[in-house]
């Protein structure tokens, strides 16, 4: 079981590292995400909190989050409704695209 998890991780890592070419082009599936995640200061309601920034977020983390939302192990009704419709390939493309959007430089 653990070996399988490790192998899956390795396979995923490989597929994520070979995808920068298509990460630069915006996947169609990202359009829906940007309805909330592409608006600065956009708020989730009930409860009210800012929708998280995803530009520059780790692709692996986003992928893990999308899977957890789809499986309902991470609770959020809107994210579940969206994630459950996505194929594994779409989840990976979305994750890679957001990571590739870069981060603000740190002054150090």
């Amino acid at each position: 079981m653990r070996l399988r998890a490790v192998l899956t991780g390795v396979a995923l890592g490989a597929s994520l590292t070979v995808s920068p070419a298509f990460a630069s082009e915006r996947p169609a599936a990202v359009e829906t995400c940007l309805g909330c995640h592409g608006i600065k200061g956009y708020k989730n309601v009930y409860p009210t909190f800012p929708v998280p920034k995803l530009g520059g977020q780790s692709a692996q983390y986003i992928l893990d989050a999308l899977r957890a939302y789809a499986e309902n192990t991470r609770p959020h009704s809107t994210m579940h409704a969206n994630a459950v419709t996505l194929s594994e390939e779409q989840k990976q493309a979305i994750a890679a695209w957001f990571e590739a959007q870069g981060r603000e430089e740190q002054d150090q």
Binding site: G13, L34, H37, G38, I39, K40, G41, P47, F49, P50, V51, P52, K53, L54, G55, G56, Q57, S58, A59, Q60, Y61, D64, T73, R74, P75, F98, Q101, G102, R103, E104, E105, Q106, D107, Q108
Partner: protein, 110 residues
Amino acid sequence: MKIANRSILAVTAAGLLLVGTAQAGDPELGRTKAAPCAACHGEDGMGTAPNFPVLAGQYAGYLVHVLKQYRSGERENALMAPWVAELSDADIADLAAYYAAMQGLVVPEL
């Protein structure tokens, strides 16, 4: 009885005021409190491994929401649970303010 009601009102009003200002954390206090977080999330908030999220530049209000979800158990996570169990609301606000003040995550423009 009237006086008691008035006291309850006053206490409730004070409580509401506190709730209203609860999210204004102190990033300098947050820096000290974040020492254990750095092992996974990095000194720079960028994460030390791909499965650990970047926190630098994230909205404070989102970080507060997430930390409280971990603390209540609404969001289950074996790695995070022990770290947040003893955090006060003030601790959470300070940590959130600290990471939010860093340069990092961006909102992709359409």
